[in-house]
């Protein structure tokens, strides 16, 4: 068997095992392990799996994920998330899909704290899902909007993905950050438009509440003043340079703990519960990340990605057509590879080609990060979706993917806009320069 054939077969096996109800992490990890063992040896594959497992739990950059989760669970303990959505309901509840819109805003806000989609989806999901559910939101709409909203985190500065792209492509990261702002704003607006359209077509998806008088609205805002202080301190501290994005997780957790104390909720049992739930959620996420990386390493070793990319280069297209084909290739690969691996594998190949076709590398960075992030929400391997499933245990995966579909349509529209009007990305850095 050639490596490419092993790669193609493994994807078929992967899909079959997923459908049969084997835990997703185990499917990814075992198929990756077996494939790697076929390409190298059982010994080598075992060692590689051990390295991936250890590095995932011991690396500082990934290690901050449970700390972000702890912050979310502590906010929950403090009742802060309830008050936040209470306020959102009083302010926006009389509008169709108001709370889903608030969740998108929450994702954007959290995205400004964390550099990652996964952390954004997991943290905001923990806070927002139970609140939307209590207010009668359809599981498809609430989980779908957070899975999609989570991808905002990867374009909003500080963005881990853009920093990595800047290093590979040797492009100024400050320019990339500036270039991301208009696209990410249009992305968020498109998501909100999707929510409004969906709720207009089927009002049962997001029940509308009665308009509340302004006095009550202000009162509910008063109750979240301390939360606002927390958010301002974290985002402000990041902006001013008191701490780094990775340190923000610990600072946020300490502040959330103070919030609990201020509200008289910091009891030993409550703290133990928050910690236990943090560990449980983190374990689900770690297992999936380990499985996905083992699978990614294997697929990288098959050379499947380089074959697909070679096909695009051989086709000799013009810039816009080439961009469209790259979207298809990235979506295909993104359905089975994790985002970082995909970027490292494809950017060095596609970037020179697109620059040769006259596209700006800054534009390409926004385009490629945007497209790769789509892989986080589309089937079969959509990490954001899996993670949200891990949080909202009783919502079937199919429902979440169904909920994500309308947002995927908006994503495609957004990417088309990015291809047809590169100025959406390039205008702002031009103005700032």
């Amino acid at each position: 068997m050639t490596p490419e054939l092993i790669g193609a077969l493994s994807i078929a096996v992967l899909l079959a095992l997923l459908a049969l109800g084997v835990p997703i992490a185990a499917v990814l990890g075992l198929v990756g392990f077996t494939g790697l063992a076929l390409l190298t040896s059982i010994e080598a594959a075992t060692i590689k799996a051990g390295v991936v497992g250890w590095e995932t739990i011991s690396r500082y950059e990934l290690g901050v994920l449970p700390l972000f989760l702890l912050m979310a669970h502590l906010c929950f303990t403090a009742g802060a998330s309830r008050d936040f959505f209470d306020a959102a309901a009083k302010l926006l509840g009389h509008r169709r899909g108001g709370l889903a819109t608030a969740s998108i805003a929450g994702c954007a806000g959290f995205g400004a704290i964390s550099g990652s989609s996964l952390a954004t989806a997991a943290t905001v999901g923990l806070v927002a899902l139970p609140e939307m559910r209590k207010r009668g939101y359809a599981p498809s709409l609430s989980t779908g909007s957070i899975a999609a909203g989570g991808t905002l985190g990867s374009l909003i500065p500080p963005s881990g993905a853009l920093i990595v792209y800047g290093m590979i492509a040797e492009q100024p990261i400050s320019k990339l950050f500036a270039a991301a702002l208009v696209p990410v704003a249009t992305q968020a607006l498109l998501y909100i438009a999707v929510i409004i359209l969906l709720c207009r077509r089927n009002p049962a998806l997001g029940p509308v509440s009665e308009r509340v008088p302004w006095r009550e609205r202000f009162a509910s805002l008063g109750r979240i003043a301390d939360i606002a202080v927390l958010i301002v301190l974290v985002i402000g501290g990041l902006t001013v340079g008191w701490f780094t994005p990775t340190e923000a997780a610990s600072i946020g957790s300490v502040l959330a703990m103070l919030l609990c104390a201020r509200r008289g909720k910091l009891t030993i049992p409550a703290l133990r519960r928050a910690l236990a739930e943090t560990l449980r959620t983190a374990g689900v996420i770690y297992a999936i990340i380990i499985g996905a990386i083992v699978f990614s390493v294997f697929l990288g070793a098959t050379g499947l990605a380089s074959h697909l990319t070679a096909l695009v280069i051989d086709a000799n297209l013009d810039a816009k057509a080439a961009a469209a084909v790259i979207v298809v290739v990235l979506l295909l690969l993104g359905s089975v590879l994790d985002g970082m691996a995909l970027m490292l594998l494809t950017v060095p190949i596609f970037l020179p080609m697109m620059v040769g076709l006259g596209m700006s590398p800054i534009w390409f960075g926004i385009f490629v990060v945007r497209t790769i992030e789509l892989g986080l929400v589309h089937p079969p391997l959509g990490m954001n979706v899996y993670i949200i499933q891990g949080i909202a245990k009783d919502v079937p995966l199919g429902t979440i993917f169904r909920g994500v579909l309308p947002f995927l349509a908006a994503d495609m529209l957004h990417i088309a806009l990015l291809i047809l009007v590169p100025a959406t990305a390039l205008w702002l850095p031009g103005v700032l320069a």
Partner: protein, 166 residues
Amino acid sequence: MSLPPPDDFGEERAPQPLPTGLTGVAVALGSVALLVAMATDALAVLGRHFGFPLLGALELVQASVSVAGACAIVCASAAGAHAVIHAVLDRVSPASRAVLAPAGQLLGAAFFLVLAVGCGWIAWDLRAAAEATDLLGIPLAPLRLFATFALIFTATLFVRTAARRA
């Protein structure tokens, strides 16, 4: 449609009992490790601004999160929280489900066993390497061993669930 009364909040998340036995130990250790990581990082930030730099804080955070991470995997597995696609499983006959459900759990056990063997093998390879962090000299061998045992224990949790579902 009106909102549910405020008192309803929090009830839907029926508090699960905290686990006992080895899993309980994992929860306790993981919790302490998380708090240590949080406090260390936060103190390092404070120290930086108030003139008592804590060099090596990063290493302590790293060591703590590795313990927390291993415990987290145990906790998630003990709670049966791992993400699964139910679409087919929910539609097949009870007889097929009686085969598929434990088979899936056994594959889960196999996955964590592979990770455990790999992790333990590396620890064995490096047994004489005196692996330690640069600044604080935190030894890594115990941390690797801890992760290995946590992964083995996780595999046994899956086997137990498989036996229960068979």
